[in-house]
Structures are given as structure tokens and as C-alpha cells.
């Protein structure tokens, strides 16, 4: 970075450098405006949730609530069984994430380092299932769930989401990045194939597993379509579903209450954003050839 800058200053005439600074300034301004449009709505949501409900529609909007008012947060606990929603969302998301990490690690390892008949064909089938939109399979899945008596339960959301084609693909790529010589060395040391996986490869694959877990968390914490179909009674709702029904139930007078709920639902996602942004970005763009 600095070397390039130095070279520019030494080789380019002064006038040219001034022009360059201008173009950087213009770019920064454009990018800042874009950032305001992206972050503005979120900041408005946060600041409105921190003001008394009566001031929800105050214009011009105040983005910085100087004396935060927590009435809306008290209200959202009263009007909505938000604790139950959080517990449901956490249970569903957590169990799916752990389930996906385990099954994807096992299958990914098998596809990467174990030898068995029909490996190529089987892996192609796994890849092909990624192309089928979930909305197409939802009707038969719903009937299946209903048939085994699991409709309107959290298990109806959890079990079908555990087998993961994308996670398997990701873990296969990750295990293939680890040298096959490790297995040979372990075999020479007398480790069984299972032991080789458990003690040699699995610990090394933790970063890949973290990506699978974070992706699963991000997707299922925010999921709306499946919970809308699979759950009927409010006690089984997840957060996004509960918040949408709260918005439907309350009039426009209680906007800040709804927004307080929205802010609460964002907190876990924010934590992931702060600590796992890199992993999330890597995971989302994995398999796109970049």
C-alpha cells in the first residue's frame, strides 16, 4: 500500500496527484451516501424503539435518542410472549446448526477421504439437490410431517433442515484441502479409520465447521417461510413469525413496540456479525468459484 503511494508521488507530477485526491473524495462521498441509505433504516428502527410510543412518527426523525425511554421494551414483553419466541428460535436454530455441523462433517469427510462405490454419482446427486427450491418440496414435506404426527411442533422445523447439501459440499472442500498423507501417517501409527477421522481430521476441520454453523444460524434464525407453514399455534412460533403477527395485531399507535421486538431479534445476528463476519462471508461466497 505505502510503496504504491510512494511511487505515485515520486513519478506523477503534482497536478496529477491533486486530481487523484479529488476522485478519491468523490468516491468516498458516494460510498458514504450509499452507507447512509443502508444503515439509516436500521438506525431509525433502533432510535424509534428507544423513544416513547407516542413519538414514533415524529418528523423529522430523531436518530439519536438523547434520553432513552424503555417503555416500548416493557410493552413488547407484555404484549408478546417474547421469551417463548426467543426460546423457540434458539432451540430451532441451535439444534439445526449442531445437526448440520455433525452430518455435514461426516458426509463431507466420506466424500473427501474415504473410498466407496458410487462416490462420484452420489456426490452429483447431493449437488443437484441444491438446485431445487425449497418452495417446491414444501408441500410433500408438510404432508410427511403431518403424516407422522409432527405438525405444529418445533421438530417439524428442525428435522427436515438437518441434512444439508451445501454444508456437505463445503465440508468436502474443506477436508480435501487437508492432505491425505495425514490418514496414511495415522494408519501407520495404528489408528483405525474412525480414530483417524475423530482425532486427526475433525479437529483440523473446526474452521470449516464454524462456517457451516454460522451459515445455518444466520439462515434459520431469520427464516420465515417454513415456520409460517409448519407452525399453527402461537406457542410454537419463532421470532420472525411472532413479530409479523404482532405487527398485524397492533395498530399504528404502537410502532415503537413492534420495533423494540425487531431490535431484540437482531441482537444475536449482530453478535454473529461482529465475531463471525469473515466466516459468514467466506461461507456465503463458497462454491461460487471465487
Amino acid at each position: 500500500m505505502t510503496t504504491i503511494q510512494e511511487r505515485v508521488t515520486t513519478t506523477a507530477p503534482v497536478v496529477k496527484r491533486k486530481k487523484r485526491d479529488w476522485s478519491v473524495a468523490i468516491r468516498v462521498v458516494v460510498l458514504l451516501i450509499a452507507s447512509v441509505f443502508i444503515l439509516g433504516p436500521v438506525l431509525w428502527t433502533l432510535s424509534t424503539s428507544l423513544r416513547p410510543p407516542s413519538e414514533s412518527f415524529q418528523l423529522p426523525p430523531a436518530f439519536l435518542p438523547l434520553n432513552p425511554d424503555l417503555t416500548s421494551y416493557e410493552q413488547v414483553f407484555k404484549q408478546l410472549n417474547i421469551v417463548a419466541l426467543v426460546v423457540n428460535s434458539a432451540l430451532v436454530t441451535g439444534l439445526i446448526a449442531v445437526g448440520q455441523m455433525i452430518t455435514a462433517a461426516l458426509a463431507g469427510y466420506a466424500f473427501a477421504h474415504l473410498r466407496f462405490k458410487g462416490k462420484g454419482a452420489l456426490f452429483s446427486i447431493v449437488l443437484a439437490t441444491m438446485m431445487v427450491p425449497a418452495q417446491v418440496t414444501i408441500v410433500p414435506v408438510f404432508m410427511l410431517i403431518r403424516g407422522v404426527g409432527l405438525s405444529d411442533t418445533l421438530l417439524a422445523l428442525i428435522i427436515p433442515a438437518i441434512p444439508t447439501a451445501f454444508g456437505t459440499f463445503l465440508m468436502r472442500q474443506y477436508f480435501m484441502g487437508l492432505p491425505g498423507e495425514l490418514a496414511e501417517a495415522a494408519a501407520i501409527d495404528g489408528a483405525s479409520p474412525w480414530r483417524t477421522f475423530r482425532s486427526v481430521y475433525a479437529p483440523l476441520a473446526m474452521p470449516g465447521l464454524a462456517i457451516v454453523g454460522i451459515l445455518a444460524f444466520n439462515f434459520h434464525w431469520n427464516e420465515f417461510f417454513r415456520p409460517l407453514i409448519m407452525t399453527i399455534s402461537e406457542q410454537n412460533f419463532t421470532l420472525p413469525l411472532g413479530l409479523v403477527s404482532l405487527q398485524g395485531n397492533l395498530g399504528t399507535g404502537s410502532i415503537s413496540v413492534v420495533l423494540a421486538g425487531v431490535v431484540l431479534s437482531m441482537i444475536p445476528a449482530l453478535v454473529v456479525f461482529m465475531f463471525g463476519q469473515r466466516a459468514l462471508q467466506d461461507g456465503l461466497t463458497a462454491g461460487t468459484g471465487k
Binding site: 460510498l31 450509499a34 474415504l114 418452495q135 441434512p163 447439501a165
Partner: protein, 321 residues
């Protein structure tokens, strides 16, 4: 978001060599038995799970499209009736048309915005600013589409919304966003693009980073500057990324549901009803599971056709180094 399109590279590294080594290492009998069943034990949860929750439903969905079934009474075989009815149904037709318009406009906006901003972020910029902008544009991706639609509905409120207040500053009279067909469609598109352009942005950032600096140096020696540099160097070299980004954006946009469902419930009238919304409504509100499956099959065929067409086009227009 979980649709990957490229096939993995390097299947099974050096099989010949590995085999030779395995022959030399004579494990115990227990190990050899384990070698036989271990792969299947490892694969079982995924393969069985996918068989039950993906493959079986695909077959069932296709079969169901030829039956009339409301879950309560026994299903009756009706041949292609479901398809015939669905194709003639005005609501279904409008919804597919809406979906196509939505895909065209939203994807164009999303890719344009993402590409422009990615180029600006990747050029010379202080490191901390680059990190800030990248995080900011990525941020909406971690939110739930339902929550986003909830607060956006307030922001686009005709009388009290911040959007119309901002427009009034510039002298534009209040826009009836959520009460008119055009306004509603615009809101659904804007909210969708707001949340999703960050994904294409990330892909473009990756693509730009892989263009060698020497190419630009060579171009500037040849006299290319500013936008000409991007037109003649960046765009051609970025075309593989653009292809992947557009395929993924189109496939995702074709399945739009959360935003229109929460923002408008498909209204006013049918103006923002989408293909997936009619699948949802005919299955879970009208209990016409056969028709819902027929619509699903049509949507899947469209998605497959578009994917195939894009990769065919790519052979002519995509420049691979």
C-alpha cells in the same frame, strides 16, 4: 442463498498413489472391516435425510401435480387438468408476470449497484474506510427479511413515513407507496434490493481482487483512464463473476416471498403477488395441493431453463483468462 452453481474442482487427489500406500499399510482385520462400513455410516444421516426430505418430495411433488387432493378426501387422478387450470388462472398468470418483472428490475438494480459500489470500494481507499463500507453493505444480509419488511413498511408509510418526508424536502409530493399497484411493486423491489445487493457486492469484490494489477498498468500505458479502463479491462475480466452473480441473483429473486408477504400480502389486488405466494396460498389457504404442486413444477422448470440458458450464453460472452 444456499444454491451453489459451480462444480467442485479436483475430485479425489492422486487416487493411484493413495491406493499404493493403502496396500503397503496392512491394518488389522478390525480396521479392514471398518474401512468397508465406515463410509456408509458417515453418509447415512445425510443421504437418508436427503432421500426423505428432498428427493422423495421432488418425486411426490411431480406426482401430486396430476392429482386433485385436499388432504381430507382421497386424491383423484386428473391428468394434466391442474396444469391446464393453473395456466388459465388469471391470478396465477398475473403472479408469474409480476415475478418476471420483479426479477428483471430487481436483479438489474442489484447487480448494477453492487458492481458500481464494488469498483469504488476496491480502488485506492484508506484501509479502515474500505472495511467500514464492506461491513455496511454486507450488514442487511444478516437481518431477517421479515423484520426488514416490518420496519420498511413504517418508513414507506404515506403520511408519516420517513421516505416521503425526505422526498418532501426535495419538493416531491407524498407518494402513495403501499396503496397503489406501482407504488407497492416499487417498495417490494427497493426493500428486496436494499437487503440483497450486498451478496452480489461480495461476489464482485472477490472477482475484482482476482484481476491482476499488471493488467491495469498495461492498460494505462496504452492510455486507458477512468471509466474507459473499467469498460475495456474490468468488465471483460469480471465476466465469469458477473455470470455467477447474475445466475444466483435470478434464482433467488424468482423465489421471492417474505418481502411481498409482509409488506403487501400481494396487494393491492394482485399487483405484488408472486409465484411462490400463489404456491403458498393454493396449498395452505385453499388446500388445493395438486394445483400448488403444478405451479411448483412450472416454477422449477423455469428456474432450470434460465440456469441452462445463462450457461449457454456464457460460452459466447464470458471471457475466461
Amino acid at each position: 442463498m444456499s444454491t451453489a452453481t459451480s462444480t467442485p474442482t479436483g475430485t479425489g487427489s492422486e487416487p493411484g498413489r493413495r491406493q499404493a500406500v493403502h496396500k503397503n499399510v496392512q491394518g488389522s482385520k478390525r480396521d479392514r472391516v471398518q474401512q468397508r462400513w465406515l463410509p456408509w455410516a458417515f453418509l447415512a444421516p445425510t443421504i437418508v435425510g436427503m432421500g426423505i426430505f428432498t428427493l422423495l418430495p421432488i418425486v411426490a411433488s411431480i406426482a401430486l401435480a396430476f392429482f386433485r387432493w385436499d388432504i381430507i378426501t382421497a386424491p383423484t387422478f386428473v391428468g394434466f387438468d391442474n396444469f391446464a387450470e393453473v395456466v388459465q388462472d388469471p391470478t396465477v398468470r398475473v403472479s408469474f408476470l409480476n415475478t418476471i418483472v420483479f426479477v428483471v428490475v430487481a436483479v438489474a438494480l442489484q447487480l448494477g449497484l453492487a458492481l458500481g459500489l464494488a469498483i469504488m470500494v476496491q480502488e485506492k481507499l484508506p484501509a479502515w474506510l474500505r472495511v467500514f463500507f464492506r461491513s455496511a453493505f454486507f450488514f442487511p444480509l444478516i437481518l431477517s427479511a421479515a423484520s426488514v419488511s416490518i420496519f420498511m413498511r413504517y418508513l414507506f408509510n404515506e403520511q408519516f413515513g420517513v421516505v416521503n418526508w425526505l422526498l418532501s424536502i426535495v419538493g416531491i409530493p407524498a407518494v402513495p407507496w403501499l396503496t397503489t399497484p406501482t407504488g407497492s411493486a416499487a417498495v417490494v423491489i427497493l426493500v428486496y434490493v436494499w437487503q440483497n445487493f450486498g451478496f452480489s457486492f461480495l461476489l464482485f469484490i472477490g472477482g475484482l481482487a482476482s484481476i491482476p494489477v499488471e493488467t491495469y498498468e498495461a492498460a494505462s500505458i496504452d492510455g486507458a483512464t477512468g471509466w474507459r479502463k473499467h469498460w475495456f479491462v474490468t468488465l471483460p475480466l469480471l465476466s465469469p463473476t458477473t455470470l455467477v452473480a447474475s445466475v444466483m441473483a435470478i434464482i433467488n429473486a424468482l423465489q421471492v416471498f417474505d418481502q411481498p408477504y409482509v409488506l403487501t400480502r400481494g396487494g393491492p389486488g394482485d399487483s405484488t403477488r408472486t409465484a411462490v405466494m400463489v404456491i403458498f396460498e393454493s396449498a395452505f389457504q385453499r388446500l388445493e395441493f395438486g394445483q400448488a404442486s403444478a405451479i411448483g413444477v412450472i416454477l422449477t422448470l423455469i428456474i432450470m431453463a434460465i440456469t441452462a440458458a445463462q450457461f449457454r450464453l456464457s460460452k459466447r460472452f464470458v471471457f475466461y483468462q
